[in-house]
Symmetry: D3
């Protein structure tokens, strides 16, 4: 089965793919004819596809986020490859393909990620901090298994958010050993809580964010997470003005560093400074790694990456 | 009794003043001698004063925020007027002067301001919104009587915060009548809540802010007020994700309009847009009015005002 | 008759509309065929429409800014509704429809707006200020009846500019009563003069701006209005350097507040500070109100609004 | 006679200087004693000087902008050289010194500068443009002989404004020959008019600006000059909307290039683009030249120059 | 033969043109048909052209950067003129047309430009500076004959870079005469070296830049040129830390003035300040001149020019 | 012996300190008297000290960067502690104190730091990269032992630069293990080379930078290091345009990320992205750690830290 990333101009192919988006459109011909404008994806990337002369049956047979079997031909159109569909049908049970094989996922399985996060929580020595973290994680437990970390910016795939957390926890652990003046409990808690409200800020399925939620637009995930800590403290009967509660809220509120990046206050605890930079380092390096992975091996340069000041990344070979 | 604002170079005077700040310093002479570096203020303004050759008794007799009787002479030093103290003693009970006569205050009395705010709250028609507002106001009830609205930016005097609220409520009322699509309950609540956490963000006495609190620095009054709404909703058993709770939090979070001005989200409700602009209009006009009031009548230009892009204001006469 | 704002996908309808824009285009078919690409509008909004297979007669029958009778069907294309025209003909006299019924207009009639502005002018107590204002208003008297306040930013409809003035005058009147230190004559004059040169900065018809004028591009409406005051003073024999003339020019020049927003000087009179904020408040709230009015009631969010930092507005319901 | 620029630490000297500024101050000793804090200058630079133990006679004998004979000693204080005055008296007629020998002046005499400017005006071929330019120049004729071009930014000395004009005219002449598509009349007129209102924007004496005028603060020299063109056109009966009048106003209004630098519109005529860059080039090179001239030859680096992004200039030697 | 700049809607024409770009595309018809999407250019401008119903022969007959004979018709499509091709064939030798007649070129021939640059180099009086300049120029000798100065910003045509240098040298020469404190050797060398690495930063043919080189993206032409000076000094055995070498490197490194424009250091030599402003003046005026030349004479306004703050230029006529 | 950090108001003490700066000043008394204005420091911090009534002997006895024995009293002056010196004399050999005990140093000894750096270099697997790194390190070998990493921003102490490198190398090593797609040779080389020219950009002694060098001001350490790589490649006969040379230069040039922070190009290699963020993370955390170390334990807040957006750091205790 041909991976999308491997398709080249004029390739004919047959394979299973995830039909990610679907719109019925009309051609400009007279009279206009209906066609299906489709986005196919698999774990290696995604590609636009057209089914010309779509019949009424066609228009009723397909739905977004369903698996399909496609016979098609890849063609270059306006400098980008797209697929002209020759035949297409929904996948059947006997085809033996499953959804999760067709989406981009974190390189570590979701169960292992969640397990790691739970283990780190159980290692937090301060009981109150541990309970607050647990309370907040419990609010999104189900979604944390599969949510991406962002719509497209970075870690935009299945379990991307949990993967981002785990990598940051590894880095945080290293830094606490390198610089013992850092408070490990606070840093661990800050890493786990900093993006914990993202699953409520966005609506996502199979690692793909379709839109921001109304709550997400009106409050933003930073204020939401900070309020979850308030909620946790009240429910757990912990003083709202205690250093622990205020400290955790500060870590969450300040992790974007600057007002123009969404933080109402700047980092003023050692662990807050560390948290911001661990977050930045992990997100940026993941953007680089993901861009390289989804760029065909024949290309020296990745596409431009918005999160890296619109720079492309070069594969230096020597 | 001479008001500070009326003093001119070489004026000799006797009067009562509030000793606002006091530092013991040494002259550069050999051997250096102690002198008292004092800030005197009354309701018309403030002025720096020196007591040369301070005796041990002098150094023990005076405290910040106490009333004093001063005989002195006004002298120009580096383009600014200052006072050379000839005689000074603490005020006594029989002098019959009281602290509140010597501080700058809002032009409307604190009781009337609080009464107006309470009346507006009682006019809120939605029960849940009314209760949330009451809950938050109750947290700072005592301080609201006398707190300033800011350290120096605007309304920086006794009851300045309540005065700012009342003026904004008047303007909000006018706008709701001019544009009936605005929700009066939300706008009133937003005006009362937008700066409600300021008394916990700053430490102030007699309308004078001495410093920001640790809570204020780590969280900021915007996030604090938003969390008070969370707290109120939990205590009052109102759904945390209900439109009312989210709407009030949005009003508070967005009222500085931009991230670089401290708002983690921008205004996205009609009342949030109104709130931001009512706040700006009232604060800026008050800066203008206060600058004109504290500038000697003989000056055509006020000093430069930081909150007005560092512009001075001109008294146009025709 | 169906209002454009009420159309939904697959609706068939017949009605009269204003043909606002018209271009003859070719399809991509071989050989390409001509079709008419049309913008229809009525008082509730506007929508793109296509007449496929346009005959030579069709191409000659229609003109921009003419009324037409249309039978059509609404269809979703690329997430936006558009109209496929089944039949179209120019409106005839016996149809009894008139242009002004099909354009967006200020909610108050132009005559009443002009009357209000004239009444305010006659209330100005200072004779010279009154005469300067009258002189400048007279320069655009005819256009003031119907000009919009901007190309698309805000109040972009029939009599939008006069409506903006009137609303600002109401707000100015309220503020002068709330803060008696403001000079009412100057503030009224400033409100009327601040955008008075806009009708010469832009070319508009029926409330729709087609383009900026050469004068508008080379000088800008702010400098133009300031020069009209110069011109008025000379013609009325008032001293060009008198406080009144300079004050009015300052109000006009500074009303955008910052250099990057087009003001060569910042506000330095109390009335100039007030003018800037009254202008901002009224323009922003009108953007909100207009966006809500032209967004279908079924939508919770308006489109993004450029003048509100690209934020959309949410209809909060509880 | 020792030039100020040549003074070194511990030098004793006698000479005539211009007493530019004078303030009576008190020492911190007990009791404080009066001393004179003086700024001395000559054509090579300026230096701070103190007369300790000033008698009443001393305090009455000296005035700003008067010539004095000084015996003093140069001493380094806080990394800067200053003068301790041993003896000082006002200059007398028989001393044979004159004010203009003690101020910084343009390297070309004012008469020659004015003559050059008048000659260029007479070379303008279009009668209306010539008359408008003459009208505006006539408004400041007397001041143009001696005004500086700015308070401190560049050309801040006697006849600095006229000198800036003349140098720009030379450069403009070169460019018109290099690029014949430029309109020489417009460019000449633009160069002469672009800063023509500066003498009314600032108050200056002997090339030293003491402050901005009220007119200057409220309108700015750019808008003032543009209005002078309006005035000229009316007085000369030239159509206010004619291309010549609008073109000249555009040149003046746009010559600072960007809104944040004070221009309400950006350059949109070829000559306006040229004018902005000629102005920048001449001002920046003059800052460099003046900084090098007033920096002691023993220093490799000039002080930091605000107009050059706070960079210092280096004397490269090889 | 009709120049592209002169074409108007519905013009039929026959002529020779340079086929600058070529893509095979499909129509949206069913089944889709191939057509050629072509960019034609001549010395007066460029225009998009379509060959509908392209045969296999057609698809193989044409290549980018080849000359073609075209019979076509100009048609307005989406407010822009494009060409519908009726007939097209490659140019033959007997047609007697040559490539260089169809590209935009500097108004002075490349040989004369190179000759002028070489003459200026030979006039440099300091031997070491002269040799370093010669070494660097020799690295791009062949390309300097024909390279443009930029991809599209300014001087984007055949020999544009050499033309930019020559014009700047003329201006530099004028300034050295006007201000003798400038070091002519340094300024000449700086002008020649400042963009000398551009031919290695970009890949260009016939004055048209197709893309940036990998070296250009990773290092940028400013750092490259600076390193060429290092290389020259080592090869010529000149001390790397000598004032001459450091001075030349400083001129190159600082010529974009600000970090955000690509300069790692700001100008700190008089010649560096001059170089930056000469570069800006020449580039901006050339943008104006080129925009006017390629805009049809019937248009009063050029298109918007990115390098001029997105302003258009107006042809003022009086 | 009392550490400077432990001094409190009115403490009398005797001890050895490093006299870091010394200026002779005059008091404002009449006649003015000389006194010594001194900066004392030890490994815990620094403090201003005055020797009143300095005799000629005193003025000749002391030099910056010499050790002294001081008897003094700590006094608060304008909110800061300073020392009034009672007795002072230069340290003698028999006192047995040595300079390096009195300066702030990296927490790891310089020999160990250099040894670590050399070991990492020897671990680089690619011969050419290893040789280029060695060549550049050899240029500053002596200075690398003791240079600080910056004037005051971060790691501003003895061996601060080597310490910064070593910590970054540890972090780089961790990241290469966490993300194997990173090229370890390039990242190690980039970390060692990124600030390698700093010792030539600044003049420093005992970890204290006195000023920037002329070379540093004119070229900047980023361009200098990049040119050292050019020099190394030429001397080692490695192709200047080879991927290794260009890659190393890119790492150095891009490590400040943005033009406004001094990088002429942005990071476009995975290792360049990593290098920038490792550098930022290490520098910021070191600022935090150093600020906490030098702030008296009795203070909850450190002073504001410029490199952390002017935020202070809070010691959270629970």
């Amino acid at each position: 089965m041909t991976l999308i990333k491997q398709l080249a101009n004029q390739d004919e192919f047959v394979g299973f793919y995830l039909l990610k988006e679907l719109v019925v459109r009309q051609t400009n011909s007279t009279p206009p004819k209906d066609y299906l404008d489709i986005m196919l994806c698999d774990s290696s990337g995604e590609i636009s596809a057209k089914l010309w002369d779509a019949s009424t049956t066609d228009k009723e047979a397909f739905f977004p986020m369903g698996l399909v079997k496609v016979k098609g031909i890849a063609q270059t159109y306006r400098d980008r490859l797209q697929v002209k569909i020759i035949q297409i049908r929904p996948a059947k049970e006997e085809d033996g393909v499953k959804l999760t094989d067709f989406i981009r996922s974190a390189p570590i399985g979701p169960d292992e990620l969640i397990h790691t996060i739970q283990r780190v929580i159980s290692d937090i020595q301060d009981q109150e901090i541990k309970e607050i973290v647990s309370y907040c994680v419990a609010k999104v437990e189900e979604k944390l298994v599969h949510y991406p970390a962002a719509k497209s910016h970075h870690h935009a795939y299945y379990a991307g958010l949990a993967y981002h957390m785990v990598r940051m926890l590894e880095l945080g652990d290293f830094l606490c050993r390198q610089r013992p003046f850092l408070n490990g409990d606070l840093l661990k808690a800050g890493i786990i809580l900093h993006d914990i409200a993202k699953p409520e800020e966005m609506n996502a399925q199979l690692g793909i964010v379709s839109e921001y939620s109304t709550l997400g637009k009106l409050l933003g995930h930073i204020s939401m997470a900070s309020q979850w800590i308030t909620e946790a403290a009240i429910r757990l009967d912990i003083d709202l003005e205690s250093p622990k509660v205020v400290g955790l809220q500060h870590l969450v509120l300040s992790h974007h560093n600057l007002g123009e990046w969404g933080s109402p206050v700047g980092p003023q605890l050692p662990e807050a400074v560390a948290l911001h930079h661990i977050d930045a380092l992990d997100a940026k390096l993941q953007m680089v790694e993901d861009a390289l992975l989804t760029t065909p091996d024949t290309e020296d340069w990745t596409p431009m990456i918005r999160g890296l000041e619109n720079k492309a990344i070069y594969r230096l070979k020597y």
